[in-house]
């Protein structure tokens, strides 16, 4: 039997993340989340379950919230990926969602926060007129074990409302 080593199996992959291009070599089985964290050094994307339920690894792929633990790196070429590292402005000014999570105490341990921020960013951009009930349903995609969600909902709602003003 011919042994195929993992290194041999790695294929070149180009990821476009937050406007930057990363040229990496990834085995076909390598998840997008691991590629972002280990190969691109973008550790803001967190892994809470690696089976697509908790949403801590949520990133935006072409503007849509996606579980990066359920996508392979090799499937992620030719798309625009955005992670939590790309939310704040280059001068460090926080994104309105980041500012709102801070002001409304929308985080405690902060582990789920990048996932909630990216999920919310997707909502903000695709459904700025979303109603309260739909917002709760959309935010129910992700798990938080610290906050009881109330302040997360308040945070996102405040940004949506400010956008309408």
């Amino acid at each position: 039997m011919t042994e195929i080593s993992a290194a041999d199996a790695a294929v070149p992959v180009v990821l476009r993340v937050n406007g930057d291009e990363y040229r990496i070599a990834a085995e076909p089985r390598r998840t997008l989340a691991d590629a972002l964290r280990e190969d691109c050094g973008l550790t803001g994307t967190h892994l809470g379950c690696e089976h697509g339920v908790c949403g801590a690894c949520t990133v935006l792929v072409d503007g849509e919230p996606v579980r990066s633990c359920l996508m392979f790196a090799v499937q992620s070429q030719d798309v625009e990926i955005r992670t939590v590292e790309g939310l704040a402005a280059a001068d460090g000014t926080l994104h309105p969602l980041q500012e709102a999570f801070w002001r409304h105490h929308g985080l405690q341990c902060g582990f789920c926060t990048p996932g909630f921020l990216m999920l919310s960013a997707g909502i903000l951009e695709t459904s700025p007129d979303i109603g309260d009930e739909e917002l709760r349903e959309a935010l129910s995609s992700n798990l938080c074990r610290c906050t009881g969600y109330q302040t997360i909902v308040d945070s996102v709602r405040s940004v949506l409302d400010a956008g309408e003003a």
Binding site: R30, H51, H105, G110, F111, C144, C146, T151
Partner: protein, 713 residues
């Protein structure tokens, strides 16, 4: 919040200032364990038993060692010299034979029991290679119930005060209850993990190993690891980073902590282990599973004169660091806020072939509060009294404070330090408009809805000593540095400590830096558990800052205490039951909680609301179920259900500061657990009310299956 308008230099204690911790967490610059890497690091994978109980005939690692990227693989023989993991708290000699070795040798005792480790150059390769391990186990019959006769029974905790037998002999009525709480746990969103990094030392200790991913009790864990691996205490250094939730589970000393440290020292390279979620569900401490049989001797007025209770505590396959902590707390806090002049309890610790159990937020209180409050509801029903009226008749009056409960727990005698339980209850009732709310719910029931209200009361405990050390000094840039041996598990302790320090010194809290969880910065430290940090570390910060203010010199102080502080609360739940599915929706949830004095009300409310989410999970959703062979049936987030925003009710918090603790100069009590404590009790009572079946719910979680079965009978 108006934070930007807040005047600098004003009072800080009691202000809802924004957290110091948040910026790195918001921009993706957190340093959680998995985010830390070092050049040349290796990756460890644990091979675990997939049999609940059996004789370990052999562990064969030849194929593992031949696999790509593997550097080492070991079974129990390699670490046979490492002793079993000792108790951190509430140890008993009778429990010592049940302590866990870091790798199972002769027997496996639960699915998930570590039997070997694989260390490889890459985490994917470590996981591939671990699949090649051949573990030969001859299965034995598993013990799956704490109440079954075959369960090892090392110890019963016994307590008796007053004349229980006389109270029962003279009782107007005896009210009896059997109730059970299901097995669930903290499930922090970040799994456990550890990175051990050998470093060349130039100090007297020589070479050292730094531990990243250490949490909760860094000083204890580092000292214990050093002791177990025959190192000098100063050779193991804790480097606490960001911690993705604690809840009692994370940061206890587990076999993996020893295995990773051992591997790093043996191989001379950094070794990293990041638990995966399935592992977490079978390997990290479970909690809560207790089965009660309680009786109350009640007089003609509905006043409980005695409680006589027995419970079986399902400890799982081993006794871990918490020893008998959870059943000890169950015994001590079962009488709760009520007078109960005579009291007897027996907590029977039983070993089963499930994941070992430890503490989880409000340990022993979530369980015993469920049972006690169910018992009070049953008294109310049998005496045809309003549930609130029964509680009024039994509450300890404010004049009786401080109230010696006549029992000891965690090495302290349990004396409620202050409280006006009646006043808090009335405040809750006024807030919800008790009478009119009951009428409107009755009206909705008449119209066909299954909707009801439930109330639960409790006493919490906080501020466990015996000491906390703090150093405070002014920095050259005008800032102030606080060094503590406490830890952060994500609760906002840096902000709270900075507020106390800033308040005393008249500097802004943003100019105070709080350093914690670094064991080489301060000689000793107790860490973060038992809602202790705000009280113990907070008071130590207050004393140190006060000394600095007086002398102008850097100050180092120790705050000692022999007693805990006792916050108290009342929960109310309104729930709706779906007659078709048995599903329960919590429509409204109210927590009244007295914390003596709130350093940062926003953070306290955050603790309470988050605590409610975990309590709702334990009351309705979360359950580590097993099949008859001991196979765990909840090993992913698909089958272990936690509340999402869709299940979480809106929570109204009535934060109360009626009863400052007389035991410390700031009047502080801890706030970390009271959001969780009475969720099971209040929700169960509300379900009873909704389905018009008093006393129906006697086990948690009240799953749709369980509620449907109640509706059918």
């Amino acid at each position: 919040m108006g934070e930007s308008d807040r005047p600098r230099g004003g009072p800080l204690i009691g202000e809802s200032v924004l957290r110091l911790e948040d910026r790195p967490l918001l921009v993706g610059e957190g340093r959680f364990l998995a985010d830390v890497s070092f050049e040349g690091e290796l990756h460890l994978r644990v091979v675990r038993s997939d049999v609940a109980h059996g004789v370990l005939r052999g562990v064969y690692l030849d194929d593992v060692l031949a696999a790509e990227g593997v550097v080492a693989a070991w079974s129990a023989d390699e670490v046979a010299h490492v002793p079993a993991i000792e108790f951190r708290m509430t140890g008993f000699d009778e429990l010592r034979p049940y302590c866990q070795r870091i790798l199972a040798g002769e027997y496996v005792r639960y699915v998930g029991d570590p039997v070997a480790v694989v260390i490889a150059e890459d985490p994917y390769l470590a996981e591939d290679a671990a699949e090649l391990a051949f573990v030969d186990i001859e299965p034995l019959e598993p013990v799956m119930e704490a109440t079954s006769p075959g369960a090892p029974a090392p110890l019963a905790l016994e307590h008796e005060q007053g004349d229980v037998d006389a109270a029962f002999a003279g009782a107007h009525r005896i009210v009896e209850l059997r109730a059970t709480v299901g097995r669930h746990s903290g499930i922090p969103l970040e799994t456990r993990g550890l990175l051990a990094r050998p470093v060349d030392g130039d100090g007297p200790e020589g070479n050292r190993v730094e531990l990243y991913g250490i949490a909760k009790v860094p000083h204890y864990n580092c000292a214990t690891i050093a002791n177990m691996l025959d190192l000098e205490p100063g050779q193991v250094i804790g480097r606490e980073g960001h911690v993705g939730g604690g809840f009692g589970v994370r940061g206890e000393l587990y076999p993996e902590d020893l295995l990773v440290t051992y591997a790093a020292l043996k191989l001379g390279r950094p070794v990293k282990w990041v638990e995966d979620r399935r592992e977490h569900m079978v390997a990290a401490n479970h909690s809560r599973e207790q089965a009660y049989h309680v009786r109350a001797a009640v007089d003609e007025d509905g006043v409980v004169q005695a409680i006589d209770g027995e419970f079986f505590h399902d400890q799982g396959g081993y006794v871990r660091t918490h020893g008998a902590t959870v059943p000890n707390l169950s015994v001590a806090l079962l009488p709760g806020p009520y007078l109960v002049p005579s009291y007897r309890a027996r907590g029977r610790i039983r070993l089963t072939n499930k994941t070992p159990a430890g503490t989880y937020r409000a340990p022993g209180r979530f369980e015993s509060t469920f049972v006690r409050e169910r018992l009070m509801d049953r008294v109310a029903n049998e005496y045809d009294l309003d549930p609130v009226e029964v509680r009024r008749r039994n509450l300890i009056p404010a004049e009786a404070m401080p109230f010696d409960r006549g029992v000891s727990t965690l090495g302290t005698s349990l004396v409620y330090d202050s409280g006006d339980y009646q006043r808090l209850l009335e405040r809750l009732l006024t807030h919800i408009g008790y009478e009119s709310l009951r009428e409107s719910l009755a009206q909705r029931r008449e119209e066909g809805e299954m909707i009801g209200l439930g109330i639960g009361m409790f006493v919490e405990k906080s501020g466990l000593g015996p000491f906390d050390d703090v150093r405070v000094r002014r920095l050259d840039d005008g800032g102030v540095e606080v060094v503590t041996g406490a830890a952060s598990v994500g609760q906002g302790m840096e902000t709270a400590m900075a507020q106390i320090c800033g308040d005393v010194l008249g500097v802004d809290y943003t100019d105070v830096s709080v350093r914690h969880g670094q064991t080489d910065l301060i000689g000793r430290g107790m860490g973060a558990f038992a809602s202790r940090v705000t009280v113990m570390t907070g008071v130590a910060v207050y004393l140190a800052a006060t000394e600095l203010a007086a002398t102008g010199e850097p100050a180092e102080v120790t705050f000692n205490t022999d007693h805990m502080t006792y916050p108290y609360g009342a929960h109310a739940a309104v729930v709706r039951v779906d007659a078709g599915t048995g599903g329960v929706a919590v429509e409204r949830y109210i927590v009244a909680y007295d914390v003596g004095r709130a350093v940062n009300p926003m953070l306290v409310e955050g603790q309470i609301i988050g605590g409610v989410a975990q309590g709702v999970g334990g009351a309705l959703l979360e359950l580590f179920a097993y099949d008859a062979d001991g196979q765990p049936l909840a090993t992913s987030f698909m089958d272990y259900l936690m509340p999402t925003v869709a299940e979480q009710p809106p929570v109204e918090v009535l934060l109360s500061e009626d009863a400052p603790s007389p035991l410390n100069p700031l009047g502080l009590k801890g706030a970390g657990e009271g959001g969780t404590t009475a969720c099971g009790a209040a929700i169960a009572a509300a379900i009873d009310d909704a389905i018009s079946r008093p006393g129906a719910v006697t086990s948690l979680p009240a799953t749709p299956e369980l509620v449907r079965s109640l509706l059918r009978t």
